[in-house]
């Protein structure tokens, strides 16, 4: 476990991201607050339109500029030299200096995030030349080291390859090499293994954990796959319809979830453990994720919730309430549900 006294790398408070569209304003995230510490992995879990990806895009200034998109709240990032930067409302030129140097992103689809007309070596060298001012020769030498670090076989030959000559797993390794080239304090990985096969996924997860241990970077791992969360996260933040609905350390989130949505997600998973009843019905969550333009009143999960009480759950949006040190959940009926389940509240 990560000791609590590690310094925070990113502290986000009340992040609101809203898109102005022809059919009105869509609130992609509301009141999102969290922090990530050095050497820690925070998993951001959620389904379609939960706001998990847009949270990270917004933080790095990768959402469209105003008036198309409005961002409110605060996000403080501490770089490796100890400087604190406010990310929200920062001019693009400043953000550009931070992106790729202090904070990097890996996206889901390595084929579309790599440039097809540049060699792998050029793409890894680029952030080193821009942010670190390395000469082309020095940058290429460092690119070779990085390819070796991300365990690509025959790295010298791969430097001159184009992305289409590589397999999906190797492309993702190249993406990781680009992302960690400048030793960022924060790495955001947005579904980095979703497009990969399971055996390759396992390799990439192992690689990311090893790199994190070596460089002590903080990592935000965005995924919908709870199996991956259980494998790599220190802390977990569950999002639903743009809001944080539960956050806490990984073990309590899985063993004693408090918010009915988190519990529902875990219950609905088919599992591999031997002895589990097979071909039985799974405990699925009824209904669908709400349309972002038409959220239900009160708790957005209410219409799908087993514990829904008319007049209570549809009257006000529940606050994110602390339930234990380092654990919070957004539900008006936390105590009632815990008592009913025989769990001490």
């Amino acid at each position: 476990m990560i000791p609590v006294q590690r310094p925070p790398v990113l502290e986000v408070e009340n992040l609101d991201i809203a898109f102005n569209t022809k059919s009105g304003t869509i609130h992609a995230t509301r009141e999102v607050s969290f922090s990530v510490r050095q050497g820690e992995t925070l998993a951001l879990v959620g389904e379609t339109s939960s706001g998990k990806s847009v949270t990270c895009l917004g933080l790095l200034g990768l959402t469209p500029p105003p008036p198309y998109c409005q961002i409110g709240g605060s996000a403080k990032m501490t770089t490796r030299d100890g400087t604190v930067h406010q990310l929200i409302g920062r001019p693009e030129t400043d953000l550009r200096r931070l992106r790729g140097a202090a904070a990097s992103v890996i996206f889901q689809e390595p084929m579309t995030s790599l440039n097809p007309v540049h060699t792998v070596g050029e793409q890894i060298a680029e952030p080193l030349r821009i942010h670190r001012g390395l000469s082309p020769r020095a940058a290429t030498a460092r690119a070779l080291e990085l390819l070796d670090l991300v365990r690509i076989s025959d790295p010298r030959r791969r430097l001159d390859n184009y992305p289409h000559e590589l397999s999906g797993g190797m492309r993702q390794r190249v993406m990781i090499a680009v992302a960690i080239a400048c030793e960022p304090a924060l790495l955001i990985a947005d579904e980095p293994t979703t497009a990969l096969d399971v055996t390759i996924q396992a390799q990439i997860l192992e690689l990311l954990s090893d790199l994190q241990r070596q460089t002590d970077m903080a990592m935000i791992f965005i995924t919908h796959n709870l199996g991956i969360v259980a494998e790599i996260a220190d802390r977990v933040m569950v999002m639903y319809a743009g809001r944080v609905v539960e956050q806490g350390d990984v073990v309590p989130i899985f063993t004693a979830p408090r918010m009915p949505y988190t519990r529902g997600l875990l219950d609905s998973l088919p599992r591999l453990e031997p002895g589990r009843p097979r071909r039985s019905l799974l405990r699925a969550i009824p209904g669908n994720v709400p349309d972002p333009t038409a959220h239900p009143p009160g708790c957005t999960f209410g219409p799908r919730c087993d514990h829904f009480r008319a007049g209570l759950c549809d009257s006000a949006i529940p606050p994110l309430e602390q339930t234990a040190p380092g654990h919070a959940a957004r539900c008006l009926r936390l105590d009632a549900i815990a008592n009913a389940a025989g769990v001490s509240a």
Partner: protein
């Protein structure tokens, strides 16, 4: 020639694609997507084909329905040999064998209402039905898959991913098929919705007596839904067994590695995994001998010599590996 409880019998199925035609005497490049696959599907059972991309699992699915005629081998549906039939000859049989696709966004025509989409199979396979009967059937099947008959007038874009997959299932069920081939039917869905569709498929299987060939890369889903599991690697079956037998005592190194690589949603039981090195080799130039040997942690020099046969290692359990000590 096939046992009466066998609905589908596949023998030595091969599907090869020629990638580059010989040009100025250059050798042809042949991609052996499926290379000698045999299995039986009993009536009422769910058999899953598992494998990674490039393993040939989807090609098997398409070839057993004769959507793409196999290069070699035979497929019997009931007593009928279907692998040598022309599309015209297949049409009367298609009623009994239907397919569900992965992407519920791409597999429904956006310009057609649900009613039009669902009645198309009736117009082809049951032309004797009049318009009223068709409408009734559409309404009945929509209820069967958990949608409302009022949904018939809507267009695909008005539905969520899970609802679209229900429509895809409904379309497959319109002609009362015996065999359903489902290619990654829940892979594109959100977790909470995925469980709904898995439940629906299990319920439909029981209530309609369906036989299913379920194609997926997700071992947890496959482990939950299947009676038997067949594991594919580079166009070949490497292991086939009853679900419990395969999950509790996998006998092929690839199956063992796949199970170890599947992320387990239990943070109290993190483990150091047996990691497979490298990628799936290109199907254009598979390794000699055992196709898995280039990534296998148990490979011996002898593995490069011959392609191992699928041999019985227990009741209903067969695997293709020469390492008898595993």
């Amino acid at each position: 020639m096939t046992a009466p409880d066998t609905l589908l019998s596949v023998r030595d199925l091969r599907k090869w694609f020629t990638i580059k035609a010989g040009f100025f005497g250059a050798p042809k490049v042949v991609l052996k997507a499926v290379d000698g696959v045999s299995f039986d599907l009993r009536r009422g059972e769910v058999l899953s084909l598992v494998g990674e991309s490039g393993s040939g699992k989807s090609t098997v699915g398409r070839a057993v329905l004769n959507l793409e005629p196999p290069t070699a081998g035979t497929v019997h549906f009931g007593q009928a040999l279907i692998s040598d039939k022309s599309p015209d000859q297949m049409r009367p049989l298609r009623r009994a064998m239907q397919m569900v696709f992965q992407d519920p966004y791409a597999s429904l025509n956006p310009k057609h209402t649900v009613e039009t989409i669902l009645s198309a199979p009736l117009q082809i396979h049951m032309p004797e039905m009049d318009a009223d009967q068709q409408r009734e059937k559409v309404a009945a099947i929509l209820s069967t898959v958990g949608l409302s008959p009022a949904h018939a007038r809507r267009y695909p874009h008005e539905f969520s991913g899970g609802q679209r997959q229900r429509i895809g299932l409904a379309r497959a069920l319109m002609t009362n098929p015996e065999l359903l081939v489902a290619d990654e039917p829940v892979s594109a869905l959100d977790v909470s919705v995925q469980a709904q569709v898995i439940n629906l498929m299990l319920e439909l299987k029981d209530s309609l007596g369906l036989t299913m060939l379920f194609i997926s890369h997700d071992l947890a889903v496959v482990g939950h839904i299947s009676d038997r599991i067949a594991v594919m690697y580079l166009g070949r079956l490497v292991e086939i067994a009853d679900t419990d037998s395969l999950l509790t005592r996998p006998r092929h190194p690839y199956t063992i590695a796949l199970l170890a690589a599947a992320p387990n949603p239990d943070p109290t039981r993190r483990r150091k995994r047996q990691l497979l090195l490298g990628d799936i080799p290109s199907p254009l130039s598979p390794p000699s001998g055992c196709p898995f040997r280039s990534r296998c942690y148990a490979a011996l020099p002898a593995c490069a010599q011959t392609v191992p046969d699928l041999r019985t290692v227990g009741p209903g359990h067969a695997r293709a590996c020469i390492r008898d000590d595993l």
